[in-house]
Structure formats: structure tokens, C-alpha cells
Amino acid sequence: MSQDYNDEFIDNIKRKDSIKNLTDAEKELEKLKNDKQSFMIEQNKQYLESLFQDHKSSPIKIRNVQITNAQTFRDSFLQSQFKSLLASDQSVSLESFLTKVEHISKNFLKLGIIDNLLVSVQQVNPPMFSRGTSLHVVPVFNIIPTKKFYAKTGTNIGNGEGDGYIQFQLRNIFGGGENLEFDAVSGTKTQSSYMLNYNQPLFNNANYRLENLFYVNTRKFDWIQANVTGRGVTNKIHTLFDGPVNHEVVLENYWKVLNNYGSKSLEVLQQAGSQYKSSLSYNIIYDSRNNKHLPTVGKYLQFGVEFNGWAKYVKYPFIKTAGQAQFSYSLPKFKSSVIATAKTGMLYPLGTTSSLLDRFYIGGPNDVRSFMLNGLGPKDFNSSIGGDIFLNGGISLITDIPRYTESNFKIHNFVNFGKLVKMDKSQGIIDNLKQLTHSHSLSYGIGLLFNHPMARFELNLVVPIIAHDRDSVRKGIQYGIGVSFL
């Protein structure tokens, strides 16, 4: 979990489908893709259902599978995808047949390597001397693959930052869902960022994905008045199950260079220079929410653990855990919903102290509102030096605007709290954790939010209720854009 692509622990344990950094155009494109996927699946299902209407009681016997436009895929890959249809010589029920076809369609779409998948079913004569009453069919899958090469360029402006980017994608390189992506970004906060991402399904299974990221970037960390240059390799295996539970294992090797330009904190000065990270982390995610950005029902639970210290040149070894819980309830009587969120994490330094670049930071428009970005917790000469233990959370009441109940604009009332402290190793862990039981910073706000399908926009009027002297508070208007909010 580094400071860049995986820098914030909480960010790191997000699912891959996080769209936090997408531009509006990309989000729109993603939305259209999703709509298209849903539409295609539904269309396929309806078609097949009507086809089999007359034969719903008949058992189905699949004689073989025909695939058109299959030349862009490897034989072994195709065999894996269609294995479920060909696995048995026995007849299957209509429901089972439809489920298998839908499953195959979903897998192809999940891999992002097809534009469309059309399924037709041909009835064929049963073999001579066949005694059964099964309906003998041959499903025909017409695959329309995506473009192999894709490039785009553009600019992003917003959130106090502007940048330009260029992106190249090579899809389905070896005929088994292998993709190569290259991103280059240059902006005001991210001075430069280059990332190469090679990803592929594991064992020809769309539910398991291997990602290999190579990156070099330089970013401004305003809260410690320093620039951080990172170079690293991240290898990640994660699942994409349709069910609520998913897993992620991440191996990260990262070289970070902290270059101070204006901090007077001795901690920042002392930690300037090179730091290496060689970590292994595991995350588990349970997600049953009906919407990722503004759920009205469902639960989201995640827990992650990370160990950094494999290599002898790791200067700041640690064990880190972080978790998040979000519960959403609908209150139809009040045309409202309630979202309760809590996050917590602990970093236990295995050496004398922890790195500024590994610690937790809280506060900001997407976090504990009414405080500046990373504005809570320990400070040293105006630098937010972060903490090793934190607890924050909030309750949001989302209410329909009267007479505009169908609108994506909602009224938002919230209370947020949070506390971030440094680990004092001279005390026990329990004593350190006790610090989280009192003296939380607290804020309240009311505002308007817009729930775009790909992100959430908030414009709030915020006031701090309780604050520490060291906290950087924000009174008045505060706006936030993102996919993950307290």
C-alpha cells in the first residue's frame, strides 16, 4: 500500500472497479458500457426465454457449441469459457441452460474483451435410435470483439487540480483476455505519472484477475510541504465474483523519495530521502449495497491487513490493519435513507517509528467533513504528520427534494466524527486504542448532493462542532466529488 496507486490503505482495499479518478467523460462512457451490458444480458435472456417458451417442460440436450468470430481467442481460453455447457452428456433443464448461457455472457463482458455477444439456438435432429424426449440444440454464440487498440487523450479540471492525460490500451493481446494499458498524466498536484498495467484473467477464469502495475510518478503532498517521487511494481490478484464477497492479495515493491520543499517539521526533515517498501497485503470485501455511491439498502464491510518488511532495506517496517463498515437503511415513510459509516485502522511500527508516507491521514470533503484535507491529527510546525491509529465515521440522512423525488439531487444532512493519534510504543496497544474512545472532533453539515451513476457530488454548508486546537477546520461551503464518502 503505497502513496500512489495504492497509497492510502482505505483506497487500497477498494475494489478494482473504483472510478474515483475517472473523468466525467470516462464516467459517462463507463455508464453507457454498464447500461449496454445490462441491456445485452436482458436481451439475450428474453430471446432465449421466448424461444423455449414452447418447450419449457422439455429437457435440453446440448449437442455442441458453435462460436463465430472466435479467431481472436485462444482455443484453450474458449474451451474454458464454454466448459459448463459441454461438461455433461446428460440433459439439462431449461433454467439451467439459460443460467449457463447467461453466465458465459457475463464472463465475456466482465473481461471487457467483447463489444457484444449474440446467442442463437439451433434445433437439430436427435441421433438415430435416440430414445429420450430431449430437445437437441446447438447454441450459436456470435462474438463481436472489442477493438484491439484504443488510445485517448484529454484534460481534467476540478477539485483544485488540473491535469492532462494520455491513455493507450491493447486489449486481448494473446487471445485470453490479456490487456496492456499505459497511462501518462501531468498536472498541478500530480506533476507526472506514468503507469503500465498488464492484466489478465487467471486460469482462463473471469472471476480471478491478475494485475501487474509498473509506475513512476511525482506528486505534491501539500500537507507535509513535500514532493514524493515513487517508482514501483505492484502485483495484485483479486476476485470479481458476482456474489457479495471478494478478495484481494497485493504484493508491492515501492521506492519512494520524499523531497521536502517547505516543511519545518523535524519529522519531515528526518524522513526525507529514499524509503523502500516491500509489502504483502490481503483484503476481504463484503458488498451487498444496491448502489456503490449512494446506497439506500445493503451493507459494505471490508477488512485488510498488510505486512511491510520482507526486505532488509525496508527502513520503516510495519503491520497495518484497516477496516470499514457501512450500513444503509431506507426510510420510505420519510422519503429518506440513512447511511452509517465507520472506518478504523492501526499501524504498528516494527521499528522505532512509522513512515510519514505509510501513516493514516483523515479529514477532508470526502472524509470527516468540515475539516481540511488531512487536517485532523498530529501536527508539527504546520505539517500534518499523520497518525498510526484512527477512528472516524458519520451518519448521513439523505432525503428526497419535495416534488422532485425522482431527481438525482438529494438533501443531505450529516454528522461526522474522527480522531487520529500516533502510536506510543512505550504504552501497550490497549492503552493506545483507549485514546480513540474520547475527544473526537465532530462536525455537522447540510447540503445538496447529486448522485451521478458514476460518482457523487456534494455541496455542503459545514460547521465544526468540536475541534482540537491543532485541527485545520473548514467553516462554510465545502464541496466534494468521489465514490467513497463517510
Partner: protein
């Protein structure tokens, strides 16, 4: 202009409703080696240097400029050089050059009511402003600041020093020595920074054209070694003929170069020149008390 209503002003002034005073956050222990003795001045300062080494029971900076300024500071403040358990408010600490606002060390961290970080340029300027009134002394000091520093930078760039030596001198991470990729990348990055010190690359851009493929920089360094030998001889003569406060400060500065080069770069061309001035070198070591 739109006036904010008084009620709103009052409301926002009233929040936060409760202010919690800061709980005591224990900051990381910083390894500062304190000077010994007590100064008449109440000033509290720390000189941030590349790295430190043990000389007898004394702790001294490894690079010439930091060592020179440590000697000057201890002389001016009537301290003796830092030890493991020094007792004063002031001291030296090792940190990466990337901790300095302009990526050059030493920097002087002054802690009065406010913290002030003075870069090397600022330290040099203050030293001249507050201590030098003779034109001759100013010229000699300027010679040390510019030409000695230049030849030192060139020595680092040209002598192909082993990573271990660079690590000792500049505090580069010694744990990566066994990893060829990290070691060479780190070394390359560091040497790229060194070229910018004292604005050397800015003043000699042509020397760095196709740096790795041409001998411009190497040839220039070799010519400068001869110059350095002559300049050192002249300065030694000046110092032998003058014993005022200004020449004492210059002697401390030069001693920084002599001791550091003798300790770490004896096998270099620069080292040959320094070792050839055995008597003066001995006088320099005598300043380490």
C-alpha cells in the same frame, strides 16, 4: 460589495462550540548530537548535515562544508564539538540532502519562538555580513566558498567513488548496497543532484553535455586539481601570516575540507593534494578539540 450579515458572522465565529486542547503527541525522537559546554547566548540551533562520524569520542560531520561550519559554530559559541552525550541546547543531526529546501546541506535550523531554516547560501551570507570587514579576508573566504566547493563537487562526480564511500560521506542508504539495481539508481540520482550544488552545473553547462560519453568534465577536474593545489598553498600562507578572528574562521572552513578529504577521499587526486600538506593537515586536526 456584498456584506455578510452580522448574525452569520456571529454564528461562524461561535463554532467550534468546544475546543479541545492538544493532547500530548510524542514526536519521533530525533538523533541530535549536542555540542558540549554552555554558551552565553540563549540561541538554540541544530546544524543538519549529511552524515556524522566518530573521531575519538567526538561526533563530527563527514562532508567538508558541514564540518567547516560545525567548527565555526563551536568556535563562535564557545562550545566544544559534539559528543554522544553532549549537554548544550545546540547540536548537529544527520539527514538526507532532500530534507533541505534546496537539496543542499548543511542547513541551520534555528529554534527561537519560531523555527527558521537557513540554507547554505544564507549561512554563508550571514557569516560574511557579521564577521568579515577586511576585503582580503572576504576574498579568501570567497575563494574557499567557490573554488574549493567546485573542486569538491568535481571530485565526487569524477572519481567514481565506491557506493560505500558515498554512503559514509553523504548518508546514502547502506542497506541497499547489495542490490545492484537500487544501488546504481540511487547513486545516479544522487550524482545528478551533486552536479547542481553550488550552482556548478548552471555555471558550467557545457561540461555536462553528453556527460557520460565525453571527457569534458574529467579534463576540467584535472585542470582544477592543479589550481586547487596552488590556491591551497596560497591560503596556507595567508593563514600562517594572519591570526585575527577572520582568518581563524577561514582556517576552520579550510580545516573542514582538509579533514574530510583526508578521512574519506585519500585515494583520490584531491586527496593527494591534501596529504601533501602534512603540516597544515596536522594543524587542522588540532582544531578538533
Amino acid at each position: 460589495m456584498l456584506q455578510v450579515p452580522q448574525t452569520i458572522k456571529t454564528f461562524f465565529d461561535a463554532v467550534p462550540v468546544k475546543n479541545i486542547s492538544n493532547d500530548h503527541t510524542k514526536l519521533d525522537d530525533i538523533n541530535i548530537y549536542h555540542f558540549q559546554g554552555t554558551s552565553n547566548s540563549q540561541a538554540k540551533f541544530t546544524l543538519a548535515v549529511f552524515n556524522t562520524t566518530q573521531e575519538g569520542d567526538l561526533i563530527i560531520p563527514t562532508d567538508p562544508i558541514s564540518l567547516g561550519y560545525t567548527l565555526i559554530l563551536s568556535h563562535k559559541s564557545k562550545f566544544t564539538l559534539p559528543k554522544e552525550n553532549g549537554s548544550s541546547n545546540c547540536g548537529i543531526m544527520a539527514m538526507s540532502h532532500l530534507g533541505s529546501p534546496n537539496n543542499v546541506l548543511p542547513v541551520l535550523i534555528e529554534d527561537d519562538n519560531l523555527r527558521n531554516i537557513k540554507t547554505l547560501d544564507s549561512i554563508n551570507h550571514d557569516l560574511i555580513e557579521n564577521n568579515f570587514d577586511s576585503h582580503e579576508a572576504k576574498l579568501v573566504n570567497s575563494l574557499v566558498d567557490s573554488k574549493f566547493y567546485d573542486v569538491w563537487v568535481q571530485c565526487i562526480l569524477n572519481e567514481d567513488l565506491p557506493y560505500k564511500v558515498l554512503s559514509e560521506l553523504f548518508g546514502l542508504d547502506e542497506t541497499i548496497e547489495g542490490n545492484v539495481v537500487l544501488r546504481e539508481t540511487q547513486k545516479y540520482e544522487f550524482l545528478t543532484q551533486v552536479a547542481n550544488w553550488n550552482s556548478f552545473k548552471l555555471r558550467h553547462p557545457t561540461l555536462f553535455e553528453q556527460w557520460t560519453r565525453t571527457n569534458y568534465l574529467k579534463n576540467y577536474y584535472e585542470s582544477q586539481i592543479g589550481e586547487f593545489a596552488k590556491d591551497l598553498q596560497l591560503i596556507i600562507e595567508y593563514l600562517n601570516n594572519n591570526s585575527d578572528e577572520q582568518s581563524t574562521l577561514i582556517k576552520h572552513k579550510v580545516a573542514g575540507y582538509m579533514i574530510s578529504i583526508d578521512k574519506f577521499l585519500k585515494s583520490t587526486k584531491l586527496g593527494d593534494v591534501v596529504v601533501s600538506q602534512g603540516e597544515f593537515l596536522h594543524q587542522c586536526y588540532d582544531l578538533l578539540v
